[in-house]
Amino acid sequence: MNPSDPTPVLRVEGLGKSFTVHAAGKHLPSVTDLSFAVHAGRLTALVGPSGAGKSSVLKCIWRTYLPESGRILLSTGSGTGTDNDAVDLAAVDEHAVLALRRSAMSFVTQFLHVLPRQGTLAVVAEPLLALGVDAKAARERAAELLRALELPERLWDLPPATFSGGEKQRVNLARGLVVRPRLLLLDEPTASLDAHAAGLACAAVNAAKAAGAGILAIFHDPDLVRRLADDVVRLPAPLQPAA
């Protein structure tokens, strides 16, 4: 935690999430009473054993999962330093969540759900276009990121569907960074990259951090936590073995 920064980008308070699988008559706890903060210009790593609920936490923040209890306070950047300055992602309506996804946060996962025929440069530029940025500026910013991640230029017009895992992951990361989100959520963003590409990805993440983004990340490799994390949040082992 960083006490000198009283208004974190994200404050999670008492987050709880479980799944009820009706057909199996099962209730599976996933996250219990979790609290932490993510600060501007810093990276918080979520660590813990497999099944501890790391990805569930990110998905609750993104609202792919419906949080069950607690608050998920995202700073709106108005800078008044009070609770009124934040919006509770666990409580706001769907339209507000969708608007915040466009303007204030990005989620980089290992999967890319995009239109089958769309070219890579367009895929990366799209979040900017959705915000009304002019097409030329959007393409330039997308190109800069793809160049920095060393995705060969001959691939830029092709749809990423046929790319290797590592190439797709770089496209995904570029798409997540293109908008300069206030909050960046990363779920194993370098899992399928070789050492060189992983180094480029780390540099890109550090650049986002230096530009002021608050980052919450899960890394498959403890070495990356040591290299990139400013704060660490440790999740306990699951109460019940996860499926």
């Binding site: 792919t64 999962y65 969708l98 608007a99 300069r180 530009a211």
Partner: protein, 301 residues
């Protein structure tokens, strides 16, 4: 060295938090019962009864108590199995059918671009025709419902522009060609009748015809059902591109989870005429709450 933090591309201001934009459609309690209806129709259908046929009066409860808001520029998915009431719902909005009860409020603009509100469930025949001709577009699973097979591709678009009040031959021809381009129907097919087209091209022509008067609401009912996957992909791409370019609000009806995943920001799940669950599409697919949605999603995996 990577110095992305120094890039000069301007970052747009964050969108306002409270979406103050008013919905283009506000539906409340829409209900459509086929048959005489009785006092026990609603309690005897839906929920855990597992049916939409009232055992007391043999009426079909096609849609019951459906409420939602559709915002400008939004794509709303309506997902459910065959018979769940999806087509009835869009037919009510398109004024092809009238509800037994409930309201649907439309907010748009008149011919002069001034704000106009119409209660769809109470409008007269002339108003309904005006809305269908100039403000709404509908694309059906069956191309015979959305196209005139007696006239050419160009004629199909011209017909719709004429009913929308376009009088200049030149303007009609130019608009028809640009719509064919946009929906990837080759210009050299402009004088061919749709019966000679592939299924995918018929659907693209239907989309072109629906878009001709620049509608403010586009309703798409199972438009990719029954087509090959690559043909479907082309149509889905096209729909998103249209949405991106024109910002037209859309309701996309489908039984296919893949279609809502790609197209819809939010989704309603229907069963026996009821909305059993609604939410952000990826939440519906990854954290479904209702037992029925859970079953739908897990059986599609």
């Amino acid at each position: 060295m990577i110095r992305m933090n120094e890039l000069s591309t301007p970052v747009p201001p964050a969108a306002p938090l409270a979406e103050t934009r008013l919905p283009i459609i506000a539906a409340r309690g829409l209900t459509r019962i086929h048959g005489p209806g009785c006092l026990r129709c609603l309690e005897s259908t839906g929920g855990t009864t597992g049916r939409n046929l009232c055992p007391h009066c043999r009426s079909v409860v096609a849609v019951a108590g459906v409420s939602f808001d559709l915002h400008p520029g939004e794509i709303l998915g309506v997902m459910g199995e065959s018979g769940s009431g999806k087509s009835t719902l869009v037919r009510l909005l398109h004024l092809d059918d009238r509800p037994t009860s409930g309201t649907a409020h439309w907010r748009g603009t008149d011919e002069g671009g001034h704000a106009l509100e119409v209660e769809l469930t109470a409008c007269d025949a002339a108003q309904a025709r005006w809305l269908r001709d100039r403000r709404f577009g509908m694309v059906y699973q069956n191309p015979h419902l959305g196209l005139n097979f007696q006239v050419t591709a160009g004629g199909n678009i011209a017909e719709r522009l004429l009913t929308a009040g376009e009088g200049s031959f030149r303007a009609i021809r130019d608009r028809a060609l640009s719509l064919l381009d946009r929906t990837e129907v080759p210009r050299n097919r402009v004088d061919h009748k749709p019966g000679h087209f592939s299924g995918g091209m018929q659907q693209r022509l239907q989309i072109a015809r629906a878009l001709a008067p620049r509608p403010q609401l586009l309703l798409l009912d199972e438009v990719t059902t029954g087509l090959d996957l690559s043909v479907q992909a082309r149509i889905l791409d096209l729909i998103l591109e249209i949405q991106r370019r024109t910002r037209v609000a859309m309701i996309v009806v489908t039984h296919d989870l893949g279609v809502v995943r790609l197209l819809a920001g939010r989704t309603l799940v229907m069963r026996h005429g009821r909305v059993v669950e609604s939410g952000i599409t990826d939440q519906i697919l990854e954290d479904p709450q209702h037992p029925y949605t859970q079953q739908l999603v897990s059986s599609a995996l």
